[in-house]
Symmetry: C2
Subunit: 304 residues, 2 copies
Amino acid sequence: MSLKLTILGCHSATPRTSAHPTSQLLEIQNRHFLIDCGEGTQVQLRKYKIKFSKIKHIFISHLHGDHVFGLIGLISTFRLLNRDTKLHVYGPRGIKEFIVTQLRLSQSFAGYPIEFHELTSDKSELIYEDKKVEIYTIPLSHRIYTNGFLFKEKIGERKLNISAIKKHAEIEICDYQNLKNGRDYTLENGETIPNKNLTHNPSKPLSYAFCSDTSYKENIVPFIKNVDLLYHETTFLNDKKDLAKTTKHSTTKQAAKIAKLANVSKLIIGHYSSRYKDIEPFKTEAREIFLNTELAVEGLTFEL
Amino acid sequence: MSLKLTILGCHSATPRTSAHPTSQLLEIQNRHFLIDCGEGTQVQLRKYKIKFSKIKHIFISHLHGDHVFGLIGLISTFRLLNRDTKLHVYGPRGIKEFIVTQLRLSQSFAGYPIEFHELTSDKSELIYEDKKVEIYTIPLSHRIYTNGFLFKEKIGERKLNISAIKKHAEIEICDYQNLKNGRDYTLENGETIPNKNLTHNPSKPLSYAFCSDTSYKENIVPFIKNVDLLYHETTFLNDKKDLAKTTKHSTTKQAAKIAKLANVSKLIIGHYSSRYKDIEPFKTEAREIFLNTELAVEGLTFEL
């Protein structure tokens, strides 16, 4: 079980020389998921030496520019790099027209298959699943249709207790998969050994929740309950809570309160408004409510 | 008369950490014209400390991503900076749909007037004119409909020859504008003094031609004849001339030949393919044919 989050961009609105709009790369169970894709994301991927070919799934929270304007460039670059593997793009209804219109007018083509998964539900839904990972939407509340995303490892196989197994010479290697799957073992003498006597519990599955952009919304708490890592936007410090309300964003204290209510292990905050030259006060304010808070910083990785 | 060209990006195809796609800012007669707008152009404008509010006219050569993917971001940022002055965008038919679709799907609006001037002609045409500057298209030959742009100062007023004027006490300051306009002066005694005895010739008007992307095309020579400054793409060195032909780009030697045929004063080359780590050979090759050749380099300015 492992999870690694790389912050590619963590600022709101306009890209600047050293402040890029939202994008993150999540590595979980050796899958690489790109979350949001503001202008310049492909350059940030190069800067942090992330192989483009590893990205097979892109998740777009909403269609505001600072979360999506880099997508067409990345899709075009994939083609120039001779990509042939399929790309899945998950995002609000309209994401397909957004990209396809630009490809058509530039007389370009992707050159590899792209499947758009357009989201329209205002309820949480399972949008991706394989044998090790599942991904759910988290309906957020912003000025435009927006989803967060919950990435969860599935409970893994039970772990072999080799020293216990070795006490029974008749248990062979070909029996191990059954044990990992949780089955009891019946000896030749008819005696049944309970699985728990031959295995250990699997590692705790890890989970990551991405919530940006959104106003303060307690309804999301059940979806993100007990996650290991929560990214929640904090566009504003607490003194701008009225502005946060108007623009449907969150403050430091609101994000921290959500983290506390959801009993998450760690909170990462970001999506800082460009009005703030110093982001340290974001940490100070959030920690007053939720101590295990860290600032998103470009290039920073969080590993579990 | 003055002309200043700032290279914001001069590489082809994909943006990289230190290689940005095409964009240039031309300052001529205190007008600021942005030419092409690849992804990241707005960050380059900030890097080179160019005031966004000065840009009132943007010229897009063609709709390939490395010349236009930064436009939607720049247009959005103008709004966030509370722009209220009109923006004129000149580009191929489709440029309006390209931008408007993205604004619609992101439920955004410019917040200031934008006038799109969609170009369709395959002949050179006057697309902008004011009392000091005129701008013409230069039809180019690429894989998609593409124009270069010719920026020309108009011939200015004649310059007063103050020492000659002072010899005639009856010529007053209120007569000066007529002299600048080229009129002769008739003294009270009926004698006419020819204008050329009272004025000097105006400064030579300056001109700049931007030609990218294009295959080798001698037909453009009449349009760019004798310009002071010519930017002509050189995506490839001479050894890739077959690839240049296939992809409808130019080589160093082809750009230099165009410069020589057109008798321009100075040639700037750029739009380098990412396959070249060292761009010095571009200069060496081009100078074999046209000595006054300079490399485009990000942040570099050319002043006349």
